[in-house]
């Protein structure tokens, strides 16, 4: 299961790190980053629901979550 943040679309709304702080963090300007857990863009299976929730709530649709 892979996760992608499109940096050209992210504008720092922070819904992802509000909803799934295990998977997303913020840089010093508030833009979304991966965490230690997701640094390779991989999501542990137990976090699939959270990853989906973050992707579905991004106002800019900057997050892509592939579940296969």
């Amino acid at each position: 299961m892979t996760l992608r943040i499109d940096e050209t679309l992210c504008h720092g709304h922070g819904r992802c790190y509000d909803l799934a702080p295990e998977l997303f963090g913020e840089d010093e300007e508030g833009y979304s980053t991966f965490t230690e857990l997701t640094k390779d863009g991989e999501v542990p299976p137990e976090y699939a629901a959270k990853a989906r929730l973050a992707a579905e709530n991004c106002p800019e649709s900057a997050i892509t979550f592939k579940e296969e």
Binding site: G12, D18, E26, E28, G30, L53, E56, C58, P59, E60
Partner: protein, 423 residues
Amino acid sequence: MTVDDRFTQDHRDLRVDPDDVVRSEVITGPVEDWTTDFSHTEPEYAERAPEIWDDLRGRCPVAHTERFGGAWLPTRYEDVAAIAYDTDRFTSRAIIASNFRPPKTTAPIGGSPPISSDPPFHHDARKLLLPAFTKTKTAKLEDATRAFCHGLIDDFGDREVVDAAAEYAQHIPIRVIADMLGFPPEDGPEFTRFVKNTLEGINDDHDDREVQSDDLFDYIFEQIRDHVANPRDDLTTHLINAELYGQKLEPMHVAGTMVLLLIAGIDTTWSAIGASLWHLAQTPSDRARLAAEPELMKTAMEEFLRAYAPVTMARLVKDDMEFAGVKMKADDWVLLPFPAANRDPEHFEQADEVIIDREVNRHAAFGLGIHRCVGSHLARMELKVALEVWMERIPEFTLACPEGVAWSTGQIRGPRALPLRLG
């Protein structure tokens, strides 16, 4: 050490020459037809804007008016988003639609950077603010905000009816932004006046508007000079010392950004807190559920932001063009009613219902694209704390008299009078 003499001049010598401002005729009075003569400054809009958006979205998704020298009102999510993203064809050099258009030469900086700025300058001006407004930074203000909210409720004493807009919602963002800017907290009533003049006085006489603007900039320059003499750890000193392209900022950039933070930081959050309490006061099932399940606040708050998004932004059309089937002319205003976009059934399921446990909520309350509200993390912190403290202290409340509720006109929508019966 050199003396900082950027702020010793009178701001009247630094501002845009009033002769270069394009003025249009002030047209007021009841709206005849919302598709061809809309006005967001009339009492009818304050009372029933959501119904007006729903009606327009169904039959004339981009409404027009000759008022304000010509303006457009898109109501579909798709159109609002497209304009927000299109910084090539729409400029932000003015973002409050009025009967004044600043000259084209004010772009790309505008009067209150970065909200009034266009790319590429916008990005650089915005970077000066972003680090102060992250979720991590604004979370540090949470404890003080919570204590302040408790103090406001303590001040209600044993009264049964309070005005939650004027006595609660209003004071919270005023105190928070005054602390961040390093302004005297007792100046709150002045901030309220500045906000009202800037955002609700848009049809005032041209000369009055100039006096109001001078009044605001007099205050801001007084605060800047005090900070130049006595630097401290706050946003004002940060902006005075900030550099762009190897130089300190122009004096009107510093002052304009402070105006932005003061005005945009206050009545927006005031509106969001008030509208949320208004909803809960008249929806006993939601109120009881939120009181019983405080963990629902996360989704409830986002749903209030969606359904009662306070902010409508504005742009100016750069050149004549066609957009969504209408012919827009250079320097037409275009309003971006994010609350109308947030109620578009094409984009949201059960768009007209407030569902406090809505899990998927891709709303645009804080805008879309490069101008995403810089203060969104601060606003969310304030809204969360204000509602948590209220629900903890006053879990039961109702509208004391529905006819006593008054909503604002203009681009920021929220209750300005909200009499609630407590208990």
